[in-house]
Amino acid sequence: MSWWRKQKPKRYQEDQRTAPVNGVIWLLAALLLVILPHLLRQPGWVVATCLAILTWRLFKEFKGWALPRTVFRLLLAVTLLAGTYFQYRTLNGLDAGTTLLTLMLSLKLIELRTLRDAMIVILLGYFLVLSGFLYDQSILSGLYLLSVVLLLTTSLLVLNHSDEGQSQAKKEYFKRATAILLQALPLVLILFILVPRIPGPLWALPNNSSSGTTGLSDKMSIGDITRLADSDAVAFRVNFTGEIPAADKLYWRGPILWQTDGRNWSTLNRADPFNALTAPPFTHLSEAIEYSVTLLPHKQRWLFALDLVVEQPEQSFLRRDFQLLHKDKINELYRYTVRSVLDYKNSQLLPQERKKALQLPANSNPQTRALAQQWRQQASSDQQLVTLALNYFQYQPFYYSRTPPALRGEPIDQFLFSAKKGFCEHYAAAFVTLMRGAGVPARVVTGYQGGEYSELGDYLLVRQSDAHAWAEVWLQESGWVRVDPTRVIPPDRIEAYEDLQRFTDTRNDKLFNPDTRWLHSAWLQTQRGWDAVNHQWSQWVVGFDQQQQQRLLERLGLGNLNIFALVGIMVLLILALLATLSLYLLYQRQKQREPLQQAYQTLCQRLAKRGVDNAPWLGPKQRCQQAMRKLPKQRQEIKSLFNHYIQLRYTKNQTADAQRAFIQAVKRFRC
């Protein structure tokens, strides 16, 4: 009746053994690096908790402290869970999920005891690396996290060797982990290219990322674009199929701002039925050009294109005001191809469109309206009115400045009549206000202007600092016409050198100060080189989506295969690769040996084929005698070969030449 006392002898399980200390230390180092970038994004208490637990664990390993009790661990787990919930008000989503994963990982360190626990921590660590990519897909982040993967893999090796560091194989571990990663690379390439990309998302993503993105917005209050002017961040990159158009044609159209309250400008209300209208046909005055844009995620729907788009990318919509919109927000790097006609003429203005293009708040900017009315009297045509306005900007002391004075009261009045210093949005807003005041339909267009040509990558780089605002007016004879009031400001009144450049040339390497020319150009070269690398990275790695995959497959001649054939090819390729790798790994020639020994081995193996004993314990002299007995015809040759070897290996008169001669002689030797 003592069945409960019967205890089976405890069965040994490999993964239940205690994790070796040196392995745990490697693991801690790897974890620290895994968590580090996440810590920059996470609340202070999470950072503190993680670092505290890591430090505690490190001390525990060295000082042999005991693990805390279960109750304590449970309590801590609940506390941290609650903390995360209160922080984000949800446990779902990327931010909360990452925090939770980070905390769980740290918690697991508190109870880590067996090899299995350690392995779990490493597996979670790999997952955390992945969540790092969801935040940042840049090259640097990629390289950093790759090194983290290497470190995690090394920890796995150390843990599974478990000799408590007696063999001093530290370098060996690292070398082996690197070798495994390198050997995996061809496989990775095949998988990356051939695994069919399923367009995501599989489930709706809560878009709660707190990180702000620079870029244009659907509103413009005076002074907004100035904020972007100092940002070096890349907005998008463009590859042209043909020639790059002249700089003054490079207007990358973004949101169109119709509505104004006198100070702020905004796009039409989301519900406005006008938004649903598609672009009208227009007259092409030149050939269409084709180009593809790699757009960095800006968390908005709009896509940037040159005026005017004739062939829009898939899954996008060209509005009546020629703004190109994607069906979803651009949360990932997005690449699209567009065709545009740079010279055009359109000739249809809907009544409601006219009404929207003349909207001005009733009592705002009285002085401006008065001026507009005055010009209306003078001008015989709308065209002349535009010229009057431009002349006003050109001949009055208007300055183009990145640091315009703050405008109070009626901002346009103040800008036009007293401050006379402003950035593009000041000019665009003032110009449109003037036009509308004079009864000419007008609207503000925001977007980017120009770009920087990169010779290395043969593409145009558009930065946030290229953000721009300009105006469009409706002229009876030519339809909507682009007017950029900033362009009329004479160069001597442009304060910043960069701004002077931007309207003249895509190559902004004309220099101010000839003495620093080489330094500056070197810096520019480096910068552009780096950007070219980045561009390739975004194009081929980050932006490698379904379409890019299809394009590549077409180029490889696999374009018209169905998914099963593709998977079949992939499996075959992988098998072939693995077979090659196994051959390499399992039948590796004895590479590590020095060349002399290698040649000697070759000699012995050749003789062994003719029945000469190749036992490893045989010395050269005995071997030589055996071989001479077996192959009496080649006695002399064998004798001289072995004597040569003996001279090289067992006497002190060895020279590199003699060694080379021996190796050559072995190569020539046939039996």
Binding site: E14, D15, R17, A169, L581, L586, Q588, K591
Partner: protein, 317 residues
């Protein structure tokens, strides 16, 4: 061979039975399966893949593929860790029942790669870990509790490795054609039989008498302190035992018949104890048991012969 016996797992694994000489781990002997950690990692990889799809994140794809490939490559490495390894075992030294026997196994790494974390042990027992440098051979002693007397086959040994990443378990079963000889446990309450069985020999003895000094020899544990050469010790010549001889020799015939009343195993143990004692007191002795008669003799070989006879009593030789 019928299909069912082909599919018989045990047969598949143990196809060869016990083997003599050196055995080389070839492809047919090595098995490999993912470990529990490997399966978990597979699931994590799947989760990563889903995340990559969901966030449409190329680097997440890349990481997933990298880790998948690393896992696959690690399988090759794990397999390679065992492939080609050469093993052989030596007959373990005989011990008495109740002691621990050591089975020496020689592992030789013929390749030019270091092999790390190769584990060797009885099934379900904590293994011993060996690292082998290129072209290096190593002896490992596997401990084996000697439970009962007799000659026992050493049984199945598992050789396995989870190196490098622990996601795969590559193993091989070894059956060495060596057997372990276990002597009976020397026990019993009876002292070594005295006079009636001791006979006077004609040969003269080897320092077992007490009449004349015939020389000295190095001290062996168990020598009487009365015979110790204290003077030599004082001169730092080491421990020497003085030997005395006479014309009387102690010969003892240890026989089954002396122990009529006991059970077989008790008898064997008692006889074993006597043999041990007789050897320790440098007697000349013989052994008579049913099925074996060992004439009077002395020395290591004789001793082993007697113990082996006792160990194998009632068993097939």
């Amino acid at each position: 061979m019928s299909l069912s016996s082909r599919l018989n797992l045990a047969r598949f694994f143990n196809a060869k039975g016990a083997e003599a000489g050196t055995l080389t781990l070839t492809q047919r002997r090595i098995f490999i399966l993912p470990t529990r950690a490997g399966v978990s990692f597979g699931m994590i990889l799947l989760a990563m893949f889903l995340a990559a799809i969901n966030y449409n994140n190329s680097l997440a794809y890349l990481l997933t593929f990298l880790l998948t490939s690393v896992t696959i490559v690690s399988m090759l490495h794990c397999y390679r860790n065992l492939q080609g390894l050469q093993l052989r075992a030596r007959t373990p030294q005989a011990v008495f029942a109740g002691e621990t026997q050591k089975l020496p196994i020689h592992l030789y790494n013929p390749s030019s790669q270091r092999r790390l974390a190769i584990k060797l042990g009885w099934p379900k027992q904590p293994p011993q870990q060996v690292d082998l440098d290129p072209q290096q051979g190593k002896w490992v002693n596997l401990e084996l509790p000697a439970l009962s007397r007799g000659r026992h086959p050493v049984g199945q040994i598992t050789l396995y490795t989870r190196f490098p990443l622990g996601f795969f378990h590559a193993w091989s079963y070894l059956h060495f054609e060596v057997s372990a000889l276990v002597y009976p446990k020397p026990s019993g309450i009876r002292r070594l039989p005295e006079e009636p069985f001791q006979q006077q020999g004609s040969e003269g003895d080897r320092g077992r008498g007490s009449d004349d000094f015939i020389g000295q020899r190095p001290y062996h544990p168990g020598d009487s302190l009365h015979h110790l050469n204290w003077k030599a010790l004082a001169r730092e010549r080491g421990l020497l035992t003085k030997q005395f001889g006479g014309d009387r020799s102690d010969e003892l015939n240890i026989s089954w018949q002396m122990l009529a009343e006991q059970t077989t195993e008790a008898k064997i143990s008692q006889l074993c104890r006597w043999v041990v004692e007789a050897e320790q007191s440098h007697l000349r002795y013989g052994l008579e048991i049913p099925g074996a008669h060992i004439p009077i003799g002395q020395g290591q070989q004789h001793y082993e012969q007697s113990l082996t006879a006792l160990a194998l009593y009632g068993q097939k030789p």
